[in-house]
């Protein structure tokens, strides 16, 4: 009659977990299932490597002006991609610029989506008046097109990289909070949250330990979407003269400066634009693969 420990143990033996595949196998499977995603990841990794090793791989100091070689076309002397109006090597500036792009991309995406995550989960967990007010506040922020809100914020705070990042993060927060909240609302109804409450855990613990880890899928999807968007927004704001400022190397800034010289010297505009497009392309491909893997139904623009 009585079930013994040993009995159950045998039951458990039946359900051995499948052995972990070697990572090469995982990578192969992934590239077969998500070829575009792997391609995107490769671009992102290349960028990360370029940024990390910028001082090793750059042929020149990105700040060094060469007044004897101003606006020379690609291939002149050792300037592979030519120089800008101060005779600074474009390739070196592009390589160093990937640091700025990655900084803006990752900081904005991570801070924006994490803030959205906390707000969204808290809103779903506490419900009531807090949720109601937060929802209305988010509605207000969502009523602005992304670029308009970012423009207004950076106009208020003033140009510069920190302010641009704030201006980009701000519109991201409500977007992520909205998506996370709807997921968290469903999770709030799942008994393990009740179990945690019955165990007498604090609200903070329940939110952080029990709800947050379970809305990781939408969170990661939003995060990867934001990566590319942040880089694009930074480029747009820079083009309006509100972003990163000389002499710091940054792609958007290079494009801004180029807008004055690009007719006679097209390379000053072409390469930074290609760098921006390629990196956003990579981030988007990677993000799409993440989305497909985590939740094929979750769509976002």
């Amino acid at each position: 009659m009585m079930v013994t420990v040993s009995e159950v143990q045998t039951e458990a033996d039946f359900e051995e977990v499948a052995p972990k595949k070697p990572w090469t196998q995982v990578a192969m499977d992934l590239s077969r299932k998500q070829p575009l995603g792997v391609f995107g990841l490769a671009i992102v990794l290349a960028m990360v490597v370029a940024a990390a090793l910028a001082n090793v791989v750059s042929p020149f100091n990105p700040l060094q002006e060469h007044f004897d070689a101003m606006l020379v076309p690609p291939g002149t002397d050792s300037y592979l991609l030519g120089t800008d109006e101060f005779g600074r090597d474009i390739l070196s500036r592009l390589i160093y610029g990937s640091r700025t792009a990655l900084l803006v991309g990752f900081v904005c995406a991570i801070v924006g989506s994490t803030a959205g995550l906390v707000l969204g989960v808290a809103s779903a967990y506490f419900g009531g008046l807090f949720d109601l007010i937060l929802q209305r506040v988010l509605d207000v922020f969502m009523a602005f097109p992304l670029i308009i809100l970012a423009l207004a914020v950076v106009a208020t705070l003033g140009p510069g990289i920190e302010n641009v990042m704030i201006a980009i993060i701000l519109p991201f927060v409500p977007q992520c909070a909205r998506v996370v909240r709807s997921n968290a609302l469903a999770i709030r109804e799942i008994p393990y949250v009740d179990a945690a409450r019955a165990l007498g855990f604090s609200n903070a613990r329940i939110i952080l330990r029990h709800m947050v880890p379970n809305v990781m899928a939408p969170y990661l999807i939003m995060l990867t979407t934001f990566l590319g968007q942040a880089i694009l927004l930074e480029a747009s704001l820079s083009f309006l003269g509100l972003g990163v400022q000389d002499p710091i190397p940054a792609w958007g800034l290079m494009l801004t400066n180029a807008s004055e010289f690009f007719e006679g010297s097209p390379w000053v505009a072409i390469y930074p634009g290609v760098a921006i497009s390629l990196s956003v392309f990579g981030f988007n491909l990677f993000g799409d693969a993440v989305r497909d893997t985590l939740d094929p139904k979750l769509r976002s623009r």
Binding site: V140, F144, A152, T156, A235, L278, N284, L285
Partner: protein
């Protein structure tokens, strides 16, 4: 349905009030002074009293709260006030630019629709084939390439191509003429920005068409239609497309709303005298009257189009009304 519409319209009120407060606060917190820009920008020595006089005439020395209620009261009595820069009524300034922005938005929508729907369908029907990958690559590239950079490249291409073909460089016209007045002039100017923004826009719409089609193609009724031996083309046209179109139309509508005021950078590249340009000017000059109202106009368009798409969803899918 009536109740649902009422509810959604009612929900717009706090959103718009909140947006008005936010816009006001953001703009007023910004450092700077339109009068300083007006008198000091040229570098000429100007009396400080001139700047004070200018502030007084524009009402900038009134307490902020009074200025806020003046701003809100303007909406109540349908008087948006005058631009602080030109002194012209804000409505007049906006009206001048509205036609251009509207036309670009419409043209870009046409470009996007013509490209996006066929591509999205092909991509979905041939999921995971080379065609699909190419279309998806095209679409993701469209989202990745900044429209303003594409614009620069278009201009560059135009100059190079016309110089080598015609011997004389050709440029699109600088000033806007209405399509009714001079269609050739109009098109020669606006086709380029429409293409530059239309590409990004079509990329967004292609992705949406593809995923909506994929979802619909998995549904039972499509499978049933196929099982009944219907010709594939009819299945797609009659059954799948019709049902996949709703999210596509939504995305088109939202992008349209965005184009009406969000083209702040592309308009710079093409020297378009549109709403986006007006916004950048307003922000740069600290023209509160102009910027406040312009941002509110964009927000209203945005919220209103959002409302329309929500209503369209609710009308087609009764479940939404009760959730």
């Amino acid at each position: 349905m009536g109740k649902y519409i009422f509810k959604r319209v009612l929900l717009m009120i706090p959103t718009l009030i909140g947006a008005a407060v936010l816009v006001f606060l953001l703009l007023r917190m910004a450092p700077g002074d339109i009068c300083a820009v007006r008198y000091l920008g040229s570098g000429l020595a100007i009396d400080e009293s001139q700047i004070e006089l200018c502030r007084e005439q524009l009402g900038l020395n009134k307490p902020q709260i009074v200025q806020f209620f003046d701003f809100i009261w303007g909406y109540v009595i349908f008087d948006l006030g005058d631009s602080m820069w030109t002194g012209q009524p804000v409505t007049h300034e906006i009206a001048i630019r509205f036609e251009l922005s509207l036309q670009i938005a419409i043209m870009a929508t046409l470009v996007a629709t013509v490209i996006a729907i066929p591509l999205g369908i092909i991509s979905a029907v041939r999921q995971n084939t080379m065609t699909d990958y190419l279309v998806r690559g095209f679409a993701i590239a469209g989202i990745a390439i900044p429209s303003f950079w594409l614009g620069l490249m278009i201009i560059l291409g135009l100059l190079i191509v016309t110089q080598s073909w015609l011997g004389e460089p050709w440029m699109p016209p600088i000033e806007f003429k209405s399509i009714w007045e001079d269609p050739i002039h109009n098109m020669a100017q606006l086709i380029w920005p429409a293409v530059a923004t239309g590409y990004r826009y079509s990329a967004v719409a292609t992705r949406m068409t593809r995923s909506a089609m994929l979802e619909v193609l998995r549904e039972d009724y499509v499978r049933t239609a196929r099982a009944k031996g219907m010709v594939e083309k009819i299945v797609i046209n009659r059954h799948a497309l019709k049902n996949a179109l709703l999210p596509v139309v939504t995305i088109l509508a939202l992008e349209f709303a965005f184009l009406m005021g969000g083209l702040v950078v592309t308009e710079q590249v093409f020297n378009l005298n549109g709403l986006g340009n007006l916004m950048v000017d307003g922000v740069e000059r600290q023209d509160f009257a102009m910027t406040q109202n312009l941002v509110m106009l964009v927000v209203i368009i945005y919220v209103f189009i959002n409302l329309l798409t929500d209503l369209a969803y609710a009308w087609l899918d009764p479940r939404i009304r009760y959730s």
